[in-house]
């Protein structure tokens, strides 16, 4: 019988596998946040994949205008390994806000391809070596405005404005 991996064991093996790449690691319940350097993200992703993290659930980005950085987060988990499936890895990298370029992980996990397109259209993060970097849900003119960044101002308007007067 294979012994069940505890959370501590998983964290230890992550630390072991990603030695020299991890900047910081923090845990809250089943969520393990692994911060790596942006230049090492492909390497770290390959190592996580060989550990058994076989898919990415979602990708998001967080805008920090004061610190002038954007944090890209890949939520990876596992289907095959039951113990790893109880945890979610947040593979995180910080990139500068005025030049948001990061290596694409679409060669590592195929499922990130269209999710990276979403981060691209909403935050303007450019994924290097992405096979098809086009806006996914919004039209290209809106994607240029980087609508989910904090400095995009949503127009506040009265709900009663602009009702067609004729009908």
């Amino acid at each position: 019988m294979v012994e069940a991996l505890s959370l501590d064991n998983i964290i230890n093996s992550i630390k072991l596998n990603l030695e020299g790449l991890v900047k910081s690691i923090s845990i809250s319940k089943g969520y393990i946040e692994v911060v790596v350097d942006a230049s090492h993200i492909v390497e770290a992703a390959l190592k996580l994949k060989s550990m058994g993290y076989d898919h990415v659930k979602s990708i998001t980005a967080i805008d920090y205008p004061k610190e002038s950085k954007i944090r890209v987060v890949y939520h990876a988990s596992s289907y095959i390994n039951e113990d790893l499936a109880k945890t979610i890895i947040g593979l995180t990298a910080d990139i500068p806000r005025d030049n948001p370029v990061i290596d694409s992980l679409s060669q590592v996990w195929r499922s990130v391809e269209f999710q990276e397109r979403e981060v691209y259209e909403f935050f303007g993060v450019i994924f290097r070596e992405h096979p098809d970097l086009r806006p996914l849900l919004v039209i290209p003119e809106l994607a240029e405005k980087k609508v989910l960044r904090k400095d995009f101002i949503v127009k506040e308007e009265s709900i009663y404005e602009g009702i067609p007067h004729k009908y």
Partner: protein
């Protein structure tokens, strides 16, 4: 027949239908009135699901509310339908699909805008990614609510039928070639992004 109590009845009734057919054959009824009458009993909505109000749209045609009793049958192809129910939010990409679907339908055609989102944005009133449906297609009936219950949609279909019958919209549309009782709406925005080179 016009103005009689029979004209006030807007639900399917075999006796009335038989009487109307007899009147037509005997030459008592104008053909235009028959066109209006027939259009009201064949308002087929096209399957164009824009948002969450679509769940209520589905419930309206379920056995409990059974909107098919008004002669409305959801159908797949815009070429065989004459009626759109805009079910809630219309995003910028969907506005293009909405306009193309509307253009593909044969005259006379009608639009019901359903839900607060279709009226004036609803929840998403200040979103960057929605359009107001009345800027894209001409809307005949608005239904408020978030979402409107199936009864409201059924009532809107009845109101639309009443409007068509009382103003003779369908027959005038066919005779004159365009709709005279309201302005033509064409999108001011470039919804399909075809204007740019």
């Amino acid at each position: 027949m016009k103005g009689s109590s029979i004209d006030r009845v807007y639900v399917g009734n075999l006796n009335i239908a038989a009487r109307r057919a007899r009147d037509l054959l005997l030459g008592k009824l104008k053909l235009g009135e028959i066109v209006d009458w027939a259009t009201t009993f064949s308002l087929w909505p096209v399957h164009l699901l824009t948002s969450c109000c679509g769940a209520e749209f589905a419930a309206t045609w379920s056995p409990r509310f059974d909107a098919e009793q008004y002669g409305a049958l959801p159908w797949v192809g815009p070429r065989q339908t004459n009626f759109i129910v805009i079910e809630g939010t219309v995003t910028r990409k969907m506005a293009c699909a909405l306009r193309i679907t509307y253009e593909q339908m044969p005259n006379p055609k009608f639009v019901i805008a359903m839900g607060a989102c279709a009226l004036d944005g609803g929840l998403f009133y200040n979103s960057y990614n929605i359009v107001r449906p009345w800027e894209v297609v001409p809307v005949d009936i608005y239904i408020p609510g978030c979402p409107p219950p199936p009864e409201a949609l059924a009532r809107a279909i009845l109101e639309l039928r009443k409007k068509i019958r009382e103003k003779n919209i369908a027959s005038k549309w066919l005779i004159e070639g365009w709709r005279n009782d309201r302005d033509y709406v064409s999108p001011k925005e470039d919804v399909c992004r075809w204007w740019r080179p």
